[in-house]
Symmetry: D2
Amino acid sequence: MLIIMKRGASEKNIEDVKGFIERKGFNAHISKGEIQTVIGAVGEKVIDPRDIELLEGVSEVIKITTNYKLASRIFQEKDTIIEVNGVKFGGGNVGTIAGPCSVESFEQMDETAKQLSKVGVKILRGGAFKPRTSPYSFQGLGEDGLKILRKVADKYKMAVVSEIMEISQIPLFEKYVDIFQVGARNMQNFNLLKELGFIRKPVLIKRGLAATFEELLMAAEYILSGGNSQVMLCERGIRTFEKVTRNTLDLSAIPVIQKVSHLPILVDPSHGTGLRDKVAPMSRAALAAGCDGLIIEVHNKPECALCDGAQSLYPQQFSQLYKELKKIAPIINKKII
Amino acid sequence: MLIIMKRGASEKNIEDVKGFIERKGFNAHISKGEIQTVIGAVGEKVIDPRDIELLEGVSEVIKITTNYKLASRIFQEKDTIIEVNGVKFGGGNVGTIAGPCSVESFEQMDETAKQLSKVGVKILRGGAFKPRTSPYSFQGLGEDGLKILRKVADKYKMAVVSEIMEISQIPLFEKYVDIFQVGARNMQNFNLLKELGFIRKPVLIKRGLAATFEELLMAAEYILSGGNSQVMLCERGIRTFEKVTRNTLDLSAIPVIQKVSHLPILVDPSHGTGLRDKVAPMSRAALAAGCDGLIIEVHNKPECALCDGAQSLYPQQFSQLYKELKKIAPIINKKII
Amino acid sequence: MLIIMKRGASEKNIEDVKGFIERKGFNAHISKGEIQTVIGAVGEKVIDPRDIELLEGVSEVIKITTNYKLASRIFQEKDTIIEVNGVKFGGGNVGTIAGPCSVESFEQMDETAKQLSKVGVKILRGGAFKPRTSPYSFQGLGEDGLKILRKVADKYKMAVVSEIMEISQIPLFEKYVDIFQVGARNMQNFNLLKELGFIRKPVLIKRGLAATFEELLMAAEYILSGGNSQVMLCERGIRTFEKVTRNTLDLSAIPVIQKVSHLPILVDPSHGTGLRDKVAPMSRAALAAGCDGLIIEVHNKPECALCDGAQSLYPQQFSQLYKELKKIAPIINKKII
Amino acid sequence: MLIIMKRGASEKNIEDVKGFIERKGFNAHISKGEIQTVIGAVGEKVIDPRDIELLEGVSEVIKITTNYKLASRIFQEKDTIIEVNGVKFGGGNVGTIAGPCSVESFEQMDETAKQLSKVGVKILRGGAFKPRTSPYSFQGLGEDGLKILRKVADKYKMAVVSEIMEISQIPLFEKYVDIFQVGARNMQNFNLLKELGFIRKPVLIKRGLAATFEELLMAAEYILSGGNSQVMLCERGIRTFEKVTRNTLDLSAIPVIQKVSHLPILVDPSHGTGLRDKVAPMSRAALAAGCDGLIIEVHNKPECALCDGAQSLYPQQFSQLYKELKKIAPIINKKII
């Protein structure tokens, strides 16, 4: 942290700031310039920069270290590669996850999984507990949903990802699920994140609607600092003033995250746009930008879906898209599975 | 819901839409205009309008009912008045809550509460479990914090509000706390909201960083629909492109919410601005706009605070502000306590 | 500007950076710390910090001077007070401007001005050239509108403010108008701003829909640097994800601007909310937060207005509001006219 | 437009609304449902829906026609193809524009153009008049810049695009420029747009920082309605809360615009990200999403650029990118030149 003193700051001001940061557990390193004095605060403690800004004679306070450590490329230079059921995310590999928004019935899952499996998809998604804006909307099948998901996945030799909504569901998910998903609305449910640091299965964490890249990485840090190193990040659109699309899918997340972090960054073009006919173009775009994975909603009969049918692809649309993706991948030296 | 058909929509298109919405549990009411056909879908079910928009011949789908019912003025015309320790929120009453961001020690709480109590504040705030962006930041004193809060409040005959972070903490909070606070980051932690519908103490729910007014009311609806009618809403700033202030405090929340809902709407100018010297002007502004309550951070020694000291008022600043507020209230026919 | 070098930056890296900024016209001031080297770049030139960030060994670049100078409190400590027709803005004075969105006819202006004048308003607003999103909307009466505005204002001894849209209109506005208004959509029409630096009448510049406080001050700087010191700023709402209100009125603009700049900051609650019944609460709020002026839309028959009638007050509503404002002003030591 | 009456609206309310919209020049078409009455307002006039919402008994007003006509696919189903110097935009063709942010010298332009020309680029960009946030920043070379641009372009048989900032510059631009560019900050400079409707050269209009897709199309409508049918749209990033990237590049613009409009939609990944190392991934993404053109900043020596060097590619980086783009194009049935 750097503390920039005002031009006319007195010796006493400088001493007071020095004393303040030392009491907070930092080493002070004073550098007197011709124009302004700059005080470096060196240490591992976390401090609110605004507290220093309010001291007399201080002009500005600047953080020069990132708040995340374990998630950072400085901590680990090489890409984290996460492998589930033979599918790899990261390190030049692009993993694909597909399936409906929510588990509705055995038939729906069976039909969808059969078709996805034929195309080559090996990880099946499906929500059993649904975070819905309205208490009057379909809330998911609960454990029954997880059972169906598992049964169908086993039948087609697929792995399973589903969204967890609270700590008490962890034992249940341990039983049925291969990848734990944390939804956008729970990205800063810190208690849940802490507990997910103690499991030993991959966690897929989605960017919150108003979360910065740094906050997404800090959320990952909660899980990593618990000892679980298998964290995947997922861009799924942020909330902006534009309302034609459900969210604004921020594909710059891909190069930005890949520069500063070793964790795989996936893209969810289904929630990111909310509109079926935008899913294929944005999936291709995500891959061309170099994403480490895609999670795409596919439903055997989207027009009958209980949730988000409007953003689900028909299986044949997905199949067509998947062919295009396979052609784009080698151009940017990626392997897609 | 109204379904606007395209100009050239065929009879078959219209019949198909009719069939679709009837299968979804709605009554269809067709009105053929010279230009376009409009189909009214009447019913209580929740449906995703995008599903209908994808049917052939459909131009647009419009929701004409709000998604919240119990929170609406249509359901209850008169203001809900919530009374805690003699302090009223709503119905022309402006309640005041004050205290530090987090409980740090008995001395800190005792000193702060003594001073607030002298000024006339009867509800004390203080966080025991803190939602922090970084896992390395101070996370609160936990149950010890709640104990201190209760002890100090009892000493000065004050009531207590504190933030709950997960379902398993409910019994603990029942023991120590008079008002349950749900933080901005948990506004859409639907499982927690549902459970808070079963308690019988007031819940203060803060607007999420990217939450619309409607979503805030839907979050309240989760609590109300569980049977707990004592819900207070709180505007605390939304996330925008402007970074000088920590958030953008959206005071239009006051007249907007008061028009459509009977629930009290409070304002938190401390989180809303993040800067101590902006708290007093924005508190006065909130009151002049007609808010039903204020929740203000006050700390006996803000410069030593472990969390958010930079946005906490000194007790004497609060005292001065409170005098101004008492002068403004009668001008807009409000009673402030 | 401070250039923070990476931990392992070499001597050569440091020399290269030094050379680079010296070639750009800055003096380099190197401070080698135990951990990192910091290079201060001192000078008046403007440089894009990203150019330096791309040099080898550089970790981060930080601007420590504001980009605006003449608009800053550092340049001028005392409030700028702008006086028009006996009405003062700034320095403890709150000026009031009122009138319809656009000039529609002599009768409309005459009737509206008569009523405003009775209440005590001395500056009349009215658009003659209207920036409309659609080319098919009413575009204003043009010079005829300015003539009407002037004639009516003279009749009631009022001053006049109207929005200018392009450079070629300056001579016309010089003839009819006392305060030049620059609309939100033209806040960064830099060529227009430059020319307005050469006139000698006050300019009221509105914050753009996506403009930061700093950009608003930079826009003012364009005018100030041309030699025109009579600049008033105006908060009128920014664009956010919330769509119930037309814009999100950011009242924190008031304390934020007043801290860093000596220029008066006004508030336009009419455009800021877009809804008539929100105008009075937000006007009171703006005043309670300490604004230096208000600009409020009032129309003799809002339901017949050709533009923005929905956000215009009826004269009697304005009269009632004005009474409340007069009671609030002395509480915060302000004089309202 | 549809006017939804409240459930208990009286006959008189309905008659009053009918009278109101008829006086405004619409035909009223009343449809009485069991639950609610809906009034259709048919006509070409533009009206502010909020004016009707304020009438007694009205619950909601819904626009069912888009505000743009000439820009719409309903008006023209087939893609508009714009051809400049043999390069086509639209109708399956992806045109490429490249060059530095601003014209700095003959040498700089000559060197850059030579290299671009070798790769196959046939349209050269370069700013002569620069819209800068600060009045103290480099403002461009003016007419001298246009002369250099033209001279260099002629030497390498390239066409030229440059940004126009005000009406008075039109004759100058007519002389030197093949495509007129309107910058993001001027997207709603309606007077300039109107005048550009009268020229007969293509206009490239960039999306404003806070402009919705509809507003971008309305801006195009201003130009189209003047008789100039050669309009190209350009996504260049919107302003959001995320600050790591300069703007948030919204690639969903591509499928969204292509669905509703026949105009070509280009992407500017340089301003969209503001960071050189993000330009290539986002260019590939834009193409994979199906854009009709790309405009990319390339500078012979970005580290010496007077403006935006940090987001400019080196010529060899561009050359590498261009090869990748040529491989992606056929996968989505596009031709890139």
